[in-house]
């Protein structure tokens, strides 16, 4: 049994480069899928709040599918399933442009959009209907009332849930290991195979994930605190 020695990994420039690359890829997956999820969530919400039964039912089905199927299975369906039935031109282009990364972003982003849109929806629903009536009575139009009165309050209510789901999105980026995306947990596995220092490299990987998750949680807590009018937020 070899003694515990972090220097074997942290002193080896090759391993450090692999770790740094893994962190970069994890952040690329997390950030791009966050952006995709958030923009899609706003779109889904707009459809949900507009009249029209078909649009509403479609959004409800979208949300229901993405919340009730395990994220891992969704990623597998994308990469092992949908990837293979795409027209050959598209799949050739994808395989030339690191398809694993694209499908990781796509799969995680589309999945998380369902959670984000539900968070925003329950945030908006928790704003009392009187607010809309009062804003309209003061001469705001529907859009203007939404923009200046309802959405600021709704987003504020939704903030804690959005932060929690952003943390889980970051954590879920590790699922991309099953489709072979070269992110942090992939780098950890690879270094383990090269160095046989399982304990040390798992410890480093765990601490890195924990550090970034706690940073996101802290940023979210600060944002929630700032958004509270009691702490001097712009009303």
């Amino acid at each position: 049994m070899k003694g515990f020695d972090l220097a074997v990994i942290l002193g080896n420039p090759e391993y450090v480069a692999m770790l740094v690359h893994g962190i970069e890829m994890t952040f690329i997956i997390a950030i791009f899928s966050w952006l995709l999820a958030m923009s899609l969530a706003v779109l889904l919400l707009a459809v949900r709040f507009s009249p029209g039964r078909i649009g509403n039912a479609a959004v409800a089905a979208y949300v229901s599918y993405h919340r009730n199927v395990p994220t891992l299975v969704q990623l597998m369906l994308w990469y092992f399933g949908i990837y293979t039935i795409l027209p050959s031109g598209v799949s050739d282009w994808l395989s030339a442009h690191s398809a694993e990364m694209i499908f990781a972003v796509l799969g995680l982003g589309l999945c998380q959009a369902a959670y984000f849109s539900e968070d925003l929806r329950s945030g908006l629903r928790s704003v009392s209907p009187g607010q809309m009536e009062a804003a309209r009575a003061l001469g705001h139009g529907y859009v203007s009332a939404m923009r200046f009165v309802l959405i600021p309050q709704g987003v504020r209510n939704a903030l804690p849930a959005l932060v929690n789901h952003s943390v889980s999105l970051f954590k879920n980026s590790s699922l991309a290991i099953v489709i072979g995306a070269p992110e942090l947990s992939h780098a950890v596995k690879e270094i383990e195979n090269l160095s046989f220092r399982t304990f040390e490299i798992y410890l480093i990987g765990t601490i890195l994930y924990l550090f970034f998750s706690l940073m996101i949680m802290a940023a979210g807590a600060y944002l929630t605190w700032r958004a509270d009018p009691a702490n001097g937020a712009r009303r």
Binding site: L72, L77, G81, Y202, L210, M217
Partner: protein, 254 residues
């Protein structure tokens, strides 16, 4: 397309349902459900202990539990699965089946999440319940056992059901360490067929969808019922009530 799906289900339904069972370990959907049910059953007492620890006035108890909860909230489940795959055989010194490794991981992971739910449920009851129980002569644990927990746990049934759904979804990570569950069975089917990966993984996704959707639906029904009961709109069912309605005297009296 639909024809393909039916053909695959027709050919492989037994493998997807119970894996290689008579000739090998139990697998497939049966194993997924057993794994999730076992881990939630085992995680539950563990979570109550953790919640007590987090609410304790002693730092020695509070701090380690807080650290555990934050670590499980901040580290991907995948990383924890890899840890147990490495540590459990090392600590027990035995060749542990991957099912047990996954069970250990899920108990710790869901235990930490459930403990936060239980803690919130206990805190939401308010200090008054505990004070009143203590004033009536209950000890701390007796008050917890007879006054706090029955109320807190009843209010938390919906959250626990949704934790069960989350557990079913989390069992898919056993795929990384080759736990013979539904996902594993589907990828076996895919390896045998080779030509229809989309159809196979669509069946997998739809199966999970049906299970988790029905449980989510059940959760919503239970939640609505509990909210109404707490608001006093429906009376709790008592044994006496049921019996009186069956006695002929009660109805025939003028």
């Amino acid at each position: 397309m639909i024809h393909d799906l039916i053909a695959i289900i027709d050919e492989y339904w037994l493998l997807l349902l119970i894996g290689q069972y008579p000739n090998g370990p139990l697998g497939g959907l049966a194993n997924t459900l057993i794994l999730s049910a076992l881990s939630i059953v085992l995680a539950f007492p563990f979570a109550i202990l953790l919640a007590f620890g987090r609410l304790s006035k002693y730092r020695v108890l509070r701090w380690p539990v807080t650290v555990l909860v934050y670590v499980t909230r901040g580290v991907p489940l995948l990383m924890l699965v890899l840890w147990s795959y490495f540590l459990v055989p090392l600590l027990t010194g035995a060749d542990v089946p991957s099912f047990l490794t996954m069970l250990t991981t899920l108990v710790v992971y869901q235990g930490a999440f459930l403990s936060e739910i239980i803690r919130a449920g206990i805190v939401a009851l308010g200090q008054g319940q505990m004070d009143a129980a203590r004033a009536l002569g209950h000890s701390y644990f007796s008050a917890m056992r007879y006054v706090i927990l029955p109320q807190a746990l009843y209010n938390m049934i919906p959250s626990m059901l949704s934790t069960f759904v989350a557990t079913i979804k989390d069992t898919t990570l056993g795929y990384v360490i080759n736990v013979p569950d539904l996902t594993f069975a589907a990828s076996q089917v895919n390896n045998q067929l080779l030509t229809q990966p989309f159809q196979v993984f669509l069946i997998l996704a739809l199966t999970y969808y049906v299970i988790c959707w029905s449980l989510t639906w059940l959760t919503n029904v239970v939640e609505r019922r509990i909210t109404r009961r707490r608001a006093g709109l429906i009376a709790p069912k008592r044994r006496g009530q049921f019996q009186t309605s069956l006695t002929p005297n009660a109805t025939e009296q003028p």
